[in-house]
Subunit: 283 residues, 2 copies
């Protein structure tokens, strides 16, 4: 086990197993070939060719979303998609472009549309060694139950902005008030492309850092975390290097923090592979 193992696991994407999903000339998703086969039953919405899938439903974003929703509902019935999440993500060619449609979060990996999230590194500098606040995900989470996580993290639902999502998740997940979260600083983005049993995760995580006051203790409100732990940064890195204790993508966010803050030293044999491996170019 190594730092790089976590990065490679999040970048196990193999383009030969996937067909691009197009809306006209815009690539908006990456559909695994077995998932593409399941789309042949919906020729009024998707056309499956030899080497690509075309979205053929026409109309505005509302109309296309309704057409895709009907496909998703059928795929859930057929157990091709486990369940809907009743939360929708914008689907677009790139961040900031007008959405082509909105897609239920539970169907995002099936279509391999790019998903965006915010992750917050909460740290303390009032001890001799920098410490990180770490959350433990609830045992009943469908993704990565019981795994360690950033203090705050969440997907960006359709129509919601970065700061809005950060403020909302900070309140719900860690009871961090707006006056405190206002001190969070944007610190970059982590990106990866990963095949999972459901399909493709083509993820971009906007990363924020916040120095937490010594007298503030995060508390969970929404049941997503079972506890918060304050861990020395070196202990966090040891856990990442040697275990799967952290959620798969949180390893990458914390490694990015460690690289930026001089916690992972540049003479570490994995330093360059980590520093250059956390930011998969977007295409």
């Amino acid at each position: 086990m190594s730092f790089l193992d976590h990065i490679q696991r999040c970048n196990n994407y193999d383009p030969r197993r996937v067909m691009p999903l197009f809306a006209g000339t815009r690539r908006i998703g990456l559909v695994r070939r077995d998932n593409a086969e399941a789309l042949r039953n919906f020729p009024d919405v998707f056309r499956v060719a030899a080497d690509k899938v075309d979205l053929v439903a026409r109309g505005d974003a509302d109309a296309i979303s309704r057409a895709v929703d009907r496909v998703v509902d059928s795929l859930v019935t057929e157990k091709q998609i486990p369940k809907t999440r009743n939360e929708t993500f914008d689907v677009a060619e790139r961040w900031g472009a007008p959405p082509v449609f909105r897609l239920d979060r539970g169907a995002v990996p099936f279509f391999g549309t790019r998903a965006y999230g915010v992750h917050l590194n909460g740290y303390r500098c009032d001890k001799p060694e920098l410490h990180l606040w770490v959350g433990r995900r609830a045992a009943n989470k469908s993704v990565a139950p019981d795994k360690l996580d950033n203090i705050v993290a969440g997907g960006i639902g359709n129509g919601h902005g970065l700061v809005e999502t950060l403020v909302k998740e900070a309140d719900e997940e860690a009871m961090i008030p707006p006056s405190l979260i206002a001190r969070a600083v944007s610190a970059g983005a982590v990106s990866y492309r990963m095949e999972t049993p459901l399909g493709i995760r083509d993820d971009v995580l906007f990363v924020y850092d916040i120095e937490m006051p010594a007298d503030f203790e995060p508390k969970n409100r929404d049941g997503e975390f079972s506890e918060f732990l304050l861990m020395p940064a070196s202990a966090v890195l040891d856990r990442i290097r040697t275990t799967d204790a952290f959620k798969f993508n949180v390893n990458l966010v914390v490694l990015d923090f460690a690289v930026r803050r001089g916690i992972l030293p540049p003479d570490d044999p994995e330093f360059l592979a980590v520093a250059t491996g956390l930011h998969r170019p977007l295409d």
Copy 2:
């Protein structure tokens, strides 16, 4: 002109114009095809095949270095290489691996061997807006004369370590004493692959940040800088976005700083392309 233009200029590498240079099974360089032709005159040192160049000189690193030196001297005489620099870089498959040989810095782009440097962002937080110390390169520099630069930057010569190089360059370029440079924090790596008139630059820059005291003013000792300027970060970003005032690769180092410090906001239309474009994966 845009932030991304600078990143694309540093990544204009086209693999079709290049042949890999191998030492046995290890790829150690990237030789442009016209440069490879010039190596056919030295069959006891290099064998030029249809799709690769092999280093065929045998012996330890000293012996191979001497053999390559003779080739480089001939190439300088033939004006295939402008001049030697009397400073050598280690040539190896990857950072930290034992060097196969040592190569004069002036010949590095000809062979496209990977070069490593250190770059230091010097900043001040004692004003309402963060400021950056910026150096202006001397008018007689062979590379990027008169361009703006980081406060300290230098290539890592063979046998020299990261911190050793940083301390030496900080003293020579900005008269930053060891007691102050000890506060510099490792903050990541910027990487790019660029074709220049001389060949291929396959560069990795180890990035450090240092908060500079309000009462310290950098002064140049070695003639490499003509002046130092203290500029508001927003003015630096404006210069990068709209001009070529900064040395080509320094644009990337400063953009990395701006991304990490929340100076380039995540709602900037170029944010994701910049955040994911500064760290070309190493292969």
